[in-house]
Amino acid sequence: MVEDDDGAGDPVGNLSDPAGVVVPVIPAEEAALVERAKAGDVNAFAELVRLSQAEVYTLAFRLTGNEDDARDVAQDAYLRAFKALKRFRGDARFSTWMYRITANCASSHLSRRSKSSHDELSDDDAMPDERPESNPEGMAEAGALRDRMTAALAELPAPLRSVVVLRDVYDLPHEAIASELGITEAAAKVRLHRARKKLRERLFPMPGEEKARAV
């Protein structure tokens, strides 16, 4: 649920204390903006939106796979955040809280979309192989690999993409992912497993797999 804010999972701006507990580092300016926004200052909330919109939009884009949906999801996420702001305890980064809300909004958006369209891929559908003949040496370049990864993510079925993006890109814990996507932790782990496998097969096929794909 969007109201649950455990502050976990933000790899940026967080520190681990010697006991291994993640301690979020919240900039004073951001904390002040959150307090003002919670007190009803609309300008403070607008400033929070301005500061975080690129990160929220990026996550929305990675989860939905296209610009129009990403805009809708980002807008919906900020509306929900605005309404739920009083329940934000402020002990985590605002962006971390927004990630969870954005994940929840994207999940709702995608499930609405899948109900109205019948061409959604199921988890078990094989990914289409539209890649050009790859050059393993060329993939060593980080930029090229990132582009290939972005393309591979876009081709994943949405349920798999959501989990792998939230876990392996944004480092959200399984519990938070399951909560925001409305699935069990076990289902989240299964989807993550499948997504990683498909990405590995897509980006770094093993010799036998290359032949199998060619046939």
Binding site: Q53, T58, F61, L79, F204, M206
Partner: protein, 142 residues
């Protein structure tokens, strides 16, 4: 060098195999996506298989590349079009106005209900007073 779950590089010249230490490469391949990040610990027999199997070591290395590539996406920001921020702010303003209107209507409704309750109470009190006066007149007349 040891990995997160204790897998060492195979000795040079190892040819690997489809089955060693009682574990098949297929079983390792099925388990690797779940254990590559080190969150879940691999079983001992599986680790021993990977230590002696070049094919499984290669596959593990590929999974690690996938994870590294995914991690690099974290720092990459996709800039939204310039219209997004104004759209969000307009939507927030509209939501704020709707909220204020709802609050106002809720307040008025409470006032109406309060007025009706007060009028009903006054009416009932009046009826009681009239009834008691009539009762007194009847008592005096008799």
């Amino acid at each position: 060098m040891r990995s997160k779950f204790g897998v060492r590089a195979a000795p040079t010249g190892s040819s690997g195999g489809s089955r060693s230490n009682g574990v098949s490469c297929a079983a390792v391949a099925a388990a690797l996506p779940g254990i590559v990040d080190g969150v879940d610990v691999a079983a001992l027999d599986l680790r021993r298989h990977v230590e002696s199997c070049l094919r499984c070591q290669a596959e593990l290395a590929q999974y690690r590349k996938v994870l590294r590539a995914l991690h690099t996406l974290r720092t990459e920001l996709i800039e939204p079009s310039p219209g997004l921020l104004p759209d969000i702010l307009v939507a927030l303003e509209a939501a704020g106005e709707r909220g204020a209107m709802k609050h106002l209507l809720t307040g008025r409704r409470a006032a109406y209900l309060g007025g009706i309750a007060a009028a009903a109470t006054a009416g009932a009190a009046g009826a009681i007073v009239l009834a008691s006066r009539r009762h007194r007149r009847v008592a005096v007349a008799s």
